[in-house]
């Protein structure tokens, strides 16, 4: 469905006293999803995860530059093509209720999303009612304003907005942030259902535990790059995980006694070589010489000289 190769995102901005600076937020990111699959992208807060979703939709701010190759349904995704696919084929479930206009009624906003996704004007009302019913939202919710929604309700409205059309690729940005475990589980359940109907779901989160509940595959994302792609089952034990960072993530799970296997990622190296070598316990001379490529290992991929 979607394949990303070597994606990078850069920003130019000004620091104190108006000095110009370029920052590379994402570099060398690789990712692919098949229909019917939930692919979780896991990364630390501030690793550029939301930017990934925005880049895939072509809605980054103007001071951003994107490089790399993205193809959707086998065809190269150009900005022009993206403009026609956005909303109709690729849909975003945003992070929070602030993504709804505070002064417009919820129903109006969902109807507009339906209209934009290509549904004809006369079918819009029934489609919207069905979308609300699908997520167990009462009909009267359509006349509410966003601030009247509870956290879980807001999440369902956002999901309804994104899925009211026929999009095949759903990008869910932090769908569980700020929700209690039951509501979060419900939100994840909705994503699983969507995948089961043949859509591809990209689940972007910092929370490995919630991701493992529904994901088929997991892409571990660190310091702006893909370090490992593994099956969700691989996280059942340390044996199948190959990258030191992924192992550290696994070990940090509450069920796995929090054993620290890696120093915290505070610094990454830009001077060539493996970006993580400064905090990796297994580093040796090879790590300093060249940055590792992503290589195939069984079902997944890994970016490490020692895997």
């Amino acid at each position: 469905m979607l394949a990303i190769q070597n994606l990078s995102i850069r920003f130019t901005h000004y620091t104190f006293g108006l000095k110009k600076k370029e920052v590379c937020v994402v570099r060398g990111l690789d990712l692919s999803i098949a229909p019917g699959q939930v692919m979780a992208v896991i990364g630390q807060s501030g690793a550029g995860k939301s930017l990934l979703a925005h880049a895939l939709l072509g809605i980054l701010p103007r001071n951003a530059r994107i490089e790399g190759k993205v193809s959707f349904k086998g065809q190269r995704l150009t900005p022009e093509r993206l403009a026609t696919l956005r909303g109709s084929q690729i849909a975003l479930i945003p992070q929070s209720v602030t993504s709804l206009n505070p002064l417009l009624r919820v129903g109006v906003q969902v109807a507009r999303a339906a209209r934009l996704s290509g549904i004809s004007q006369k079918d819009v009302p029934t489609t919207v009612h069905r979308a609300f019913a699908r997520y167990l939202l009462q009909k009267e919710v359509e006349t509410w304003f966003p601030f009247q929604l509870s956290g879980g309700m807001a999440r369902r409205v956002l999901t309804a907005t994104a899925t009211v059309g026929m999009a095949d690729l759903i990008l869910a940005d932090e769908p569980t942030s700020g929700l209690d475990p039951i509501t979060a589980g419900e939100a994840l359940g909705h994503l699983r259902e969507l995948a089961n109907t043949g859509k591809a779901v990209l689940l972007i989160t910092h929370d490995i535990e919630t991701a493992l509940q529904v994901a088929d595959m997991v892409t571990v994302f660190c310091a702006g790059t893909t370090v490992e792609v593994a099956r969700a089952e691989d996280f059942k034990g340390l044996g199948h995980l190959r990258h030191p960072y992924t192992r550290a993530l696994w070990a940090a799970l509450p069920t796995n006694s929090f054993i620290g296997t890696m120093k915290p990622i505070e610094r990454t190296s830009d001077t060539g070589g493996c970006p993580f070598r400064l905090c990796c316990n297994d580093q040796d001379a090879v790590c300093g010489q060249s940055a590792p490529e992503l290589k195939r290992t069984g079902e997944g991929w890994v970016r490490c000289h020692h895997a």
Binding site: Y14, L18, K20, N63
Partner: protein
């Protein structure tokens, strides 16, 4: 040259704009000083001359050189504006700090004073105060100073209030830092730029209001030709076709006021972290 200017990064550009404004202001003061009393000299054979090479702004009905008069008027206008705005900003700083630090009662009183100060249209208040002071340059300065402080007071009060309740200042207090230490290390670096920018952005208002007040006939006498007075005089000669009497001094005033605006906004851009993103 123009393309070079656009290619320069924003920092250099901002600095150059600030420098340009400062050069303009010193030019006005220097020019007014060089011309001295020349604008007062009547020269009847040369009266009612339209602008030309030797007299860029023309001469008036008494043959006085309008360029010299404009420069002097501009100088007086700027002086009045600067004096009034500085007084106003001083009042705002004192009130703002008092409201934010001296307890609830002072805060209520200052907030109430701000409300009262903003309740009447500026110009009506200016007329009233200028009337109460019996006119003159002093009246104009007092009027402008006494009517422009509420907005800046609110800004400073809000800023200091927000800082005082911020976590890092509470922490500093817990760690046993003295009030003066906190004021110097935490409050000053935040409030000083805000105050400076607020002061700079008060200038244009003060200058315009002072000019408006003198135009209406309050304050300055015809012997101290402030820009507003010049323009009020030129009103009487509009129908005789002496267009240059109104045009040039007005444009000069607009350019100086805009220069202050530009200066204030650029200094803010340089100091305020919120404008850094682009």
């Amino acid at each position: 040259m123009m393309t070079n200017f656009l290619v320069l990064d924003r920092r250099t550009r901002t600095m150059m704009v600030i420098l340009g404004c400062l050069v303009l202001f010193s030019g006005i003061f220097l020019g007014a000083w060089l011309y001295g009393e020349q604008g007062q000299v009547t020269n009847l054979p040369l009266r009612k001359l339209p602008p030309g090479w030797d007299r860029p702004f023309g001469t008036d009905w008494l043959g006085r050189d309008m360029f010299a008069r404009t420069l002097k008027g501009l100088r007086i206008s700027l002086e009045i504006g600067l004096a009034a705005a500085t007084c106003s900003a001083g009042i705002a700083l004192a009130f703002g700090l008092a409201a934010a630090t001296m307890g609830r009662i002072v805060d209520v009183v200052v907030t109430w004073l701000c409300d009262v100060g903003m309740a009447t249209p500026h110009l009506v208040l200016l007329i009233l105060i200028s009337f109460a002071c019996g006119g003159g340059a002093k009246g104009v300065i007092i009027a402008v100073a006494a009517s422009h402080w509420p907005a800046l007071t609110r800004v400073i009060r809000a800023e200091v209030m927000q800082l005082r309740t911020s976590d890092y200042i509470k922490l500093s207090r817990r760690l046993g830092r003295s009030s003066t230490w906190i004021a110097r290390h935490h409050l000053l670096p935040h409030v000083a730029p805000q105050f400076l920018v607020g002061l700079l952005l008060l200038f244009p208002h003060a200058i315009l209001h002072a000019a408006g007040l003198t135009f209406l006939g309050f304050g300055m006498s015809p012997h101290t030709p402030e820009i507003g007075t010049l323009l009020a005089e030129s009103m009487r000669h509009l129908s005789t076709g002496m267009w240059w009497l109104a045009l040039a001094p007005g444009l000069a005033l607009i350019i100086s006021v805009m220069a202050f605006d530009v200066l204030g906004n650029n200094v803010r851009a340089l100091l305020d972290p919120k404008t850094l993103r682009e």
